[in-house]
Symmetry: D2
Subunit: 341 residues, 4 copies
Amino acid sequence: MRIGILTSGGDAPGLNAVIRGAVFTGIQVHNCEFVGFRNGWRGVVEGDIVPLGMPEVKGISKQGGTILGTSRTNPFEGIGGVDRVNQVMQENGIDAMIAIGGEGTLAAAKRLTDAGIRIVGVPKTVDNDLSATDYSFGFDTAVGIATDAMDRLRTTGDAHDRCMVAEVMGRHVGWIALHSGMAAGAHAILIPEQKTSVDQIVEWVTHAHDRGRAPLVVVAEGFSLDTMDDAHSERGLDAFGRPRLGGIGELLAPIIEERTGIETRATTLGHIQRGGTPSAFDRVLATRLGMAALRSVLDGHWGRMVALQGTEIVHVPFEDALGRLKTVPEDRYLEAKVLFG
Amino acid sequence: MRIGILTSGGDAPGLNAVIRGAVFTGIQVHNCEFVGFRNGWRGVVEGDIVPLGMPEVKGISKQGGTILGTSRTNPFEGIGGVDRVNQVMQENGIDAMIAIGGEGTLAAAKRLTDAGIRIVGVPKTVDNDLSATDYSFGFDTAVGIATDAMDRLRTTGDAHDRCMVAEVMGRHVGWIALHSGMAAGAHAILIPEQKTSVDQIVEWVTHAHDRGRAPLVVVAEGFSLDTMDDAHSERGLDAFGRPRLGGIGELLAPIIEERTGIETRATTLGHIQRGGTPSAFDRVLATRLGMAALRSVLDGHWGRMVALQGTEIVHVPFEDALGRLKTVPEDRYLEAKVLFG
Amino acid sequence: MRIGILTSGGDAPGLNAVIRGAVFTGIQVHNCEFVGFRNGWRGVVEGDIVPLGMPEVKGISKQGGTILGTSRTNPFEGIGGVDRVNQVMQENGIDAMIAIGGEGTLAAAKRLTDAGIRIVGVPKTVDNDLSATDYSFGFDTAVGIATDAMDRLRTTGDAHDRCMVAEVMGRHVGWIALHSGMAAGAHAILIPEQKTSVDQIVEWVTHAHDRGRAPLVVVAEGFSLDTMDDAHSERGLDAFGRPRLGGIGELLAPIIEERTGIETRATTLGHIQRGGTPSAFDRVLATRLGMAALRSVLDGHWGRMVALQGTEIVHVPFEDALGRLKTVPEDRYLEAKVLFG
Amino acid sequence: MRIGILTSGGDAPGLNAVIRGAVFTGIQVHNCEFVGFRNGWRGVVEGDIVPLGMPEVKGISKQGGTILGTSRTNPFEGIGGVDRVNQVMQENGIDAMIAIGGEGTLAAAKRLTDAGIRIVGVPKTVDNDLSATDYSFGFDTAVGIATDAMDRLRTTGDAHDRCMVAEVMGRHVGWIALHSGMAAGAHAILIPEQKTSVDQIVEWVTHAHDRGRAPLVVVAEGFSLDTMDDAHSERGLDAFGRPRLGGIGELLAPIIEERTGIETRATTLGHIQRGGTPSAFDRVLATRLGMAALRSVLDGHWGRMVALQGTEIVHVPFEDALGRLKTVPEDRYLEAKVLFG
C-alpha cells in the first residue's frame, strides 16, 4: 500500500511526531510505502511530492514545524477538485491519504471522501478548539510556553509593582488562556467565550493589587471587551472604529493603567507559542495519533479521524469534529474564576 | 470551618498547587480557615501544626516539593491511632482534613474515615500507578524531565556511536518509562509489567544499531530480567544473588555491551525526576484537584478522593484507588513496542 | 557594621543573587547587619526600610526580579539630596550603602560619594551597555531566553516558508541582538550601532531564502532604518513622522514582505527577556559581584563599583562606567555579518 | 583551499557550532572546500571522509553531539603516524586540517604540525580544564544542566528534610562543581583540587541543617576523600581497597547519613551533562571559535589553537594549552567556601 501524507494549516508542535508514528509503523511493520505532499493541499493539487522513508523521519519527533511544509490552500481552489486529486493520486500510485489539519482540512477531507477518495484524518489545532478530541497535540506545548513566559513576567511585574498583561493565542476559544492562566496564577483570564466588562477587569486587578500582588491578566487574542462593537471587533477595528494596530493586550494595558492607576505593560507572546520542541505529552499524543491513523488506513476506515478520549485513541467520523467549536464550558470558566482577583 | 491539610509519602511536583487551590478557594470564597500538619501524618499524630493562610500560599504553585514537608509516617504507628487523631483535631479545633498522598495515605485515611473522622483525599503518585484517576499530578513533570534528559543522552550516544541506557522511576509500573520512551524515540522500553529476555533486548538494540541509530534503552527501576529470580529481585539481589549496588540500568549496560559489542553507558535519572517546577499540565491538574477537594469537604463527601477522568474532576470512594495498581495495559505496551528496534 | 542595599532601575535576572551574596557573606562571616531600601532610591529618600537577614535571602538566587522592589526614582528628586540621604542613614544607623543599578544609579551614587556618603556600586544592565565590565548579570539570561524563542520561531518559519522578524531588547546597543542572533543562526542582525538600509536587509533575506532557508531577522528595539530621520526616531515617530505604535519589528515586517514577496511575521519578545530564573552564568556572576561589593564596603573602597574582567572580579571607579555606552564594536559586528544572508 | 575537519574525544555541546562557523565562512566568503573526517583521528588514519558543505551544516548549531562522530583514537596508533596522515591528506587533496579536541588531540596535533602537517586547533573540554582559554564551549551548557538538576534536587530535599548529594563531571578539576554549586546555593562543594575531610563535610552539612536548610552537597566525580589512599582512588578502588561500583557521590551519601543522622541521597548526573542543545553562550563561543579557526587556516597560523580571553578570540600555540591542567585556583575556591555550611 502506498500512502500520501499532508500537513495543512497553521503549524503545531507534534506534526512531525504524527508523521513519524505513521511512517515508522507502516514501513517497519506493514510493508507500506509513503510519500509526502509538500505544503498541504497545494502539494496534492500540484502533484508536488517528496519521498518519505525511514531516513526522512529519523529523529523528527522532537522537531517543531513540519518536514512537509504547510499552507492554507484548499484542495478545491484553482485547478483543484475531486478529479484533480484523483488524478494526482493515480499518477503517483497513491492508494490513500492521511490528512493532518484543522477544521478546514477535515471539511475538505470530508468532501473528498464523500466523493470516494480514501482519506483518514488527524485533528490539529494548537488552540484546542476541535470537538471530538479531549486534547489536540500542540496545545500542551503552547500552554507550557505561555506559562513559562508568564512565570517570567510575574517576577518583573513584582519588581516594578506593575500589572502585566499577557496576550496568548486563541482566536475563537480560550483554552490556552484558561490553562496557562491557571498554571501561572493569573488574577484575571479573559476569553472569547465570556464577555467581561472593563469594570470587572479593573475590580480584579485592583483586588489583587490590594492583596499585595503584581496583577497578571491573561487575555486570549480573540477576546473583545463588551464595550466593543462585535462588528468592529470582527473587522479588526478598535472600540472607536479605528484600525487596531496591536492586539487586544496592547489595547487593554493603557485602559487598565488609566482606570487603576497601576503601571501596566502588555506582552504579546505570538508565534513563539506554536514553534519549537514539542512537550513530551504532545510527542506521545502525536505519535499515538499517527500510529492510529495508519491503522485506520489499513482497516479502510475512510472518512474518519483519530482522536483522544480520556487516555484512549478512538476513531470518529469527520463530521463529529466539524461545525461546532469546542469552547471553554461555563463550569470550567467559573472554576478558574474563583482564583481571580 | 477549620480544615487541616497534610502531604504524605514521596514528594511530587504539584503538591503545593493542590494546597494553594484548596486554601485560596476556602479563604477567599468560603470563609474557611486552614492549618497545615507538618511532615505528613507525623504532624497529625504529634500535633505539629502550622498556620496556612493567603501569605503562605502566595506564588507556591510553581514550586516543587511541599511547603508542609512530608514523611512516610503512618498515623497508626506509635502513639497514633483513631483516638489520637481525634484528640489532635479537637484540641486544634480542626473540623476536617484533606490528605494528599499515595496508596498508603489513602488506606490510612480510609481506616480513619471508617472510624468517623472527616477526611477527603487527593491522590498523589509520580509513578501514575493509582487506579481511579487517569493521571496523577507530578507524572507529566517527571515524564518531561526524563524526556529532556533522553534528548540529551541521544546526542551524546550518536556522537560516540554508543548504546545509552536510561533508568527512570517506576518501582511497580512502567508509565514513566512508556511515555518518556515513546516521546524520546527509544528503541526498547523495559517495564515491570512485561518480563523481557536479554535476547529480546539484544535483538532490539542490534536492529536499531544496524539501522544506523545509537540505541536508546529506557528501563523502569522496577524492571527485572526474566533470568532474575523474583525472590532475588525483591530482596535487592542481582541475578547471581549478590547485593545490587547500582540500579537495573547499571546492571543492564554491561550485559548489553558484552552481548552486542556496542559500547554501552547507563544513566540513572533518580531524584531529579520528582523535584522542581511542575509542568503547566500538572499545575492545572493539581490546582483543580485542590479546589475540588475543598468542595468535597464543604459538601461533606468524607471517605472520597478527587480524581481526573477524561477532562473532568470526579469524586470516587477511597477503596476505588486501593488494592490494585494501575499498571500499563498490554495494548499500550504493544502499541509502543511497534516502534522498538 | 550596618549596611543598606538598594536595587534601582529596570530589573535584571540576578539582582537577588547579588543581594544574597552580600548579605550571606556579611552576616555569616563578618558580623555585619543589613537593611534593604524599598523600591530603589525612593526607599532611601523616604526612609522606607525593611530588615534583610538570613531568612530574607534564603533561596533567592534563582528568583527573578528583586525582593527589594525597584523604581526609577533619582535620589536628588523632590525632598531628596545629600542631606536627606545622610539623615535617613543616620536615623537608621546605616554606615554604608550598596547600590545596584545602571548608569543613572551609578551617576547618582558618584554624586553622593563625592559628597562624602559611603557607597559601593554594582553595575546592572540587561542590555550589557555599561563600560568597565565585560558582562553584566542578566544579559546571559536575556540572550538565552531570546535564543530559545528564536529556535521556536525558526521551526514555524520553516513550516510556513515565512520570514520571521524577532525584536529583542537593546535601546542603545545591540549586544542581545548580536549574541542571540549568532546563537540562533540569524540571517540578519540589526543593531542601533549600525545603520543598515532596507536594500541591504532585503538582500540578506532574499539570499537566505534563495538558499532554502526561512529567513530570521533579529532586530534590537533601538535600531532605526537609515531612511528614518534620527529626530523622528528619538521621539518615537515612524519614518513618516507618525507616532510609532508597534516597535521596529512590526514596522519592518510589512516592508520586508512587500519588498521580497516573502510572507513575513514579527514577534516582539518584550518583558519576558528580563524576568524569571537567572541562568547559572548570571547567578555565579551576580553572587560573586555581591560578595565583592561587600568586601569593598569592608575595605572602605567608596566610590567604586565591582566589575567582571575576564574571569576576575575587579573594582573600578564609578566614573569608568559613566559617560560612554559600551557599544558593539565594529569588528564584532563584522564577525557576525559574515554569517548573514 | 580544501580543509578537513575532525572532532575527537568526548563530545561537548557546541562541536557542531564550531563546524558550522568554519564551514559557513569558508564556503560563503572564502571559496574554500571542506570535508569531514569521520570519528576523530580514526577517520584521518582510515581515510574515512564525508562531504561537508552548506547542506550538511544547516541548522546544526543548536544540535548537541557532533555530526562527524568522534572517538578516542590517537593518530599515531596502529597504521597511523605522520606519513599515513600525509598520505590520506594528499590522496584526498586536503591542504589543511582543523582539529577540535582536548589535550590529547592538541598534543597529537602538535606532533603532526612539528612534522610539517598544517593543522589549526580548537580546544574542547566540557570540564573547562584547558589552559590558555578562559572558557571552553560545552562548559556553560554542562553547568546549566547541573544547576537545573540541583534546583530540582533542592525542592525534593526540602520536602523530605534530606541531604542531597549531586555528583557532577570533573575528573581532574572542579570547575563544573564550583559554578553549578555556587549557582544552586550548595552548602558544600567538593573538588579534586581540594582535599577535604569527612569531618569538614559533616560540619558543613550539620551547620546548614541547623539553619533549617536541606543540605546540598555538590561533588566532582574526581574528588576523593583525604582518608582515601590516592593509589586506591586512581585505580577506582574505594577507601577499603574494594572496586568502586558507584561514583564518589554514592560513596559519600551513606557516610554523611551515618555521621550526621540526616537522611541522605545521592544522584549522579552523568551523561546528561554533555548532551543536547548547547546554551546560547556556548553557541556564540563555538561559532566564533570555528570562524577564527578558519581565519587561522587562511592566515597559515599552523600549530596554533584559537582561544577565548576576556571577550576576545585569540590565537595561541598548542603548547600553551598542554602539560598543565587549568585547575580551580585557591582564591576561587575560598570565595565559594564562604557560602558553605
